[in-house]
């Protein structure tokens, strides 16, 4: 593989990890979040700070990074207990703007200059770069997908689905909305933190604008395109939306416009996503492989 392809593949794998996390919050628990890039950023910034200022290695810092992201996710998941639907959507947009502003204006986070000089990941004395780093991201992606797969079948996952469908009915069956909504936020933001740490050690220079609101839209578009609440939808969404800008590179100036028109057509005619319950892809798959309803 050429270095160009490896770079794109690595970024797609990182996006897929983050987007799987968003799918846990939006797809499984039904809590709309338009601020997921904030948690991606919190993961990236805490990894960068622990590596450059704390001098910790990627592996020792990783549990802390995930814990920090998940803890902040828990705190910021609290509004979801108070507000719903449209209010929650706008609150999470607000969280994204506030977190970005903090990264940009607080000198500790490097201000407008961002944080540079983040070391590469070491693995038994070898510097991971290129293909090796891609395999590392792929490994974490598999772990994340396994967690999602397990979560979907676990009691906690079923409880989240019940809350998503009808909160008051689920609550009357003894399912605590507080506990399971927050659980979904913790898992989802923890995955975003993991993705952020990988991103920081891969790009090795981060700035506040990498985690701005449009990035959150990109993440949500990936979930919606692939199919919310499905296991493979987020991965497919990350793959398509991650690869599209590269495929459409010849369009140069018209690329982003084309991209948005495509998203609009998608949401207009197939809002359930490519792998959603009644989608065309799903019907074709079901006719080829009997029992392919995962």
């Amino acid at each position: 593989m050429s270095a160009y392809l490896i770079t794109i593949a690595t970024l797609i794998a990182i996006y897929a990890i983050v987007v799987c996390g968003l799918n846990v919050i939006v797809g499984f628990a039904g809590q709309i979040s338009l601020g997921h890039a904030a948690f991606f950023g919190i993961g990236a910034y805490s990894a960068a700070l622990l590596a450059t200022k704390g001098g910790l290695s990627f592996w020792t810092a990783l549990p802390c990074v995930i814990a920090v992201s998940a803890f902040i996710g828990l705190l910021l998941g609290l509004p979801s207990l108070r507000v719903k639907a449209d209010f929650l959507a706008i609150t999470t947009i607000g969280i994204n703007f506030i977190v970005e502003a903090l990264f940009l204006y607080v000198p500790f986070f490097g201000g407008a200059l961002g944080i540079g000089g983040i070391p590469r990941v070491m693995f038994f004395g070898i510097k991971l770069k290129g293909l090796a780093f891609f395999y590392l991201c792929l490994f974490f992606l598999v772990v994340v997908i396994l967690i999602c797969w397990w979560f979907r079948r676990s009691w906690a996952g079923l409880a989240c689905f019940a809350l998503r469908e009808e909160e008051s009915a689920a609550a009357s069956m003894g399912i605590s909305p507080v506990r399971f909504k927050l659980l979904a936020f913790v898992i989802g933001t923890g995955m975003a933190g993991l993705g952020g740490a990988l991103y920081a050690h891969y790009i090795r220079f981060i700035a506040a604008t990498d985690f701005a609101f449009p990035v959150s839209i990109l993440f949500l578009s990936m979930v919606v395109l692939g199919g919310m609440g499905t296991l493979w939808g987020p991965v497919l969404g990350a793959l398509i939306l991650g690869a599209l800008p590269e495929i459409f590179r010849p369009l140069v100036d018209y690329r982003f416009l084309f991209y948005m028109v495509l998203l609009l057509i998608m949401i207009r005619f197939q809002p359930g996503g490519l792998l959603g319950e009644r989608s065309a892809v799903r019907r074709v798959l079901a006719s080829i492989i009997p029992g392919a309803h995962q």
């Binding site: 939006v26 709309i32 509004p79 108070r82 507000v83 639907a85 449209d86 209010f87 959507a89 706008i90 609150t91 947009i93 607000g94 969280i95 703007f97 506030i98 970005e100 502003a101 903090l102 940009l104 204006y105 607080v106 609101f213 449009p214 839209i217 949500l220 578009s221 919606v224 100036d253 018209y254 982003f256 416009l257 948005m260 028109v261 998203l263 609009l264 949401i267 207009r268 809002p271």
Partner: protein, 287 residues
């Protein structure tokens, strides 16, 4: 003290502009329960079309009228082709569609008019006023008068006309309004016409006020006005206007007097989250 009053006047002007942009959003949310992010795109288009007609004819009236007509058509097109078919889905579906439209409009403006900032050097035909040592410039006067005019017009329409009655009925319950013989789809379209025409006025005013028209001028209003309609109480037009005025004044005074290490855009959202946690239905919202 004089500085304080000048800041206050600027703050009210800022609040008026926020109010003009937020009005359309509040109207649309009130009737369709959709977060119309693309409204800020309509506002950007309004500024560009206004500038285009102004440069073509040199008349601000023609510029305003042309821009209002164009934006009204754009607003109705967005409603017909994007929102109406998506009403049966959960609210995030039209919201994502709306964000896509917003970003597509920004890109179109950039591709057609270029990425650079255009100047909108027009003189608004309003008098300058001297009030005890404080000068209210003609631009400020224009912002106040036009905002007051638009608000009065909208208040008259919604409170005293058959159309207003039909709009209020449609916003309460579309099927019942239909059953009462109201053509609710037409009412929804008229709401978009009104909101988008007001956005066109706001776009031209902002273009002249800052003497700047550029493709991403809608980016900050797009999300800040969301915060405003939430604080005002989703769907409550008076609430949104009050929230816009409060934010305009608070922002200007805070930036002028307190040394806050955060950009003003983040302040709006902090205020919003504070209000939401305290009164989750917003200032004038009802449950």
């Amino acid at each position: 003290m004089q500085l304080f009053f000048e800041q206050l006047l600027n703050g009210i002007a800022m609040g008026s502009i926020y109010a003009l942009v937020t009005l359309g959003l509040a109207l649309v949310y009130g009737i369709l329960r959709i977060l119309h992010v693309a409204h800020a795109g309509v506002y950007t288009v309004g500024a560009y079309i206004g500038l285009f007609f102004f440069q073509l004819t040199g008349s601000l009236i023609i510029a305003a009228l042309g821009s209002m007509v164009f934006c009204a058509m754009l607003g109705v097109a967005i409603e017909r082709f994007v929102y109406y078919p998506l009403l049966k889905y959960p609210p995030y579906v039209p919201l994502i569609g709306s964000i896509a439209v917003m970003l597509a409009i920004e890109e179109l403006c950039r591709l057609i008019a270029g990425p650079h900032i255009l100047t909108f050097a027009a003189k608004l035909p309003f008098p300058e006023i001297q009030l005890g040592g404080i000068t209210i410039s003609s631009t400020l006067m224009a912002v106040y008068c036009i905002t007051a005019g638009v608000l009065a017009f909208l208040w008259y329409i919604t409170s005293f006309t058959e159309l207003g009655l039909a709009m209020r009925a449609t916003s309460q319950d579309i099927p019942i309004a239909d059953a009462m013989g109201i053509n609710s789809h037409l009412i929804v379209s008229i709401t978009f016409v009104l909101g988008s025409a007001i956005a066109a006025i706001a776009g031209i005013l902002v273009g002249i006020y800052y003497n700047q028209v550029y493709p991403t001028m809608g980016a900050v209003p797009a999300y800040k006005t969301l915060a405003l309609i939430v604080v005002g109480g989703l769907g409550s037009v008076p609430g949104a206007v009050i929230a816009a005025m409060l934010l305009g004044v608070a922002e200007t005074l805070l930036i002028g007097y307190a040394n806050i290490p955060l950009p003003r855009d983040a302040l709006a959202f902090i205020a919003m989250i504070g209000v939401l946690m305290w009164r989750s239905e917003g200032l004038l919202g009802s449950r």
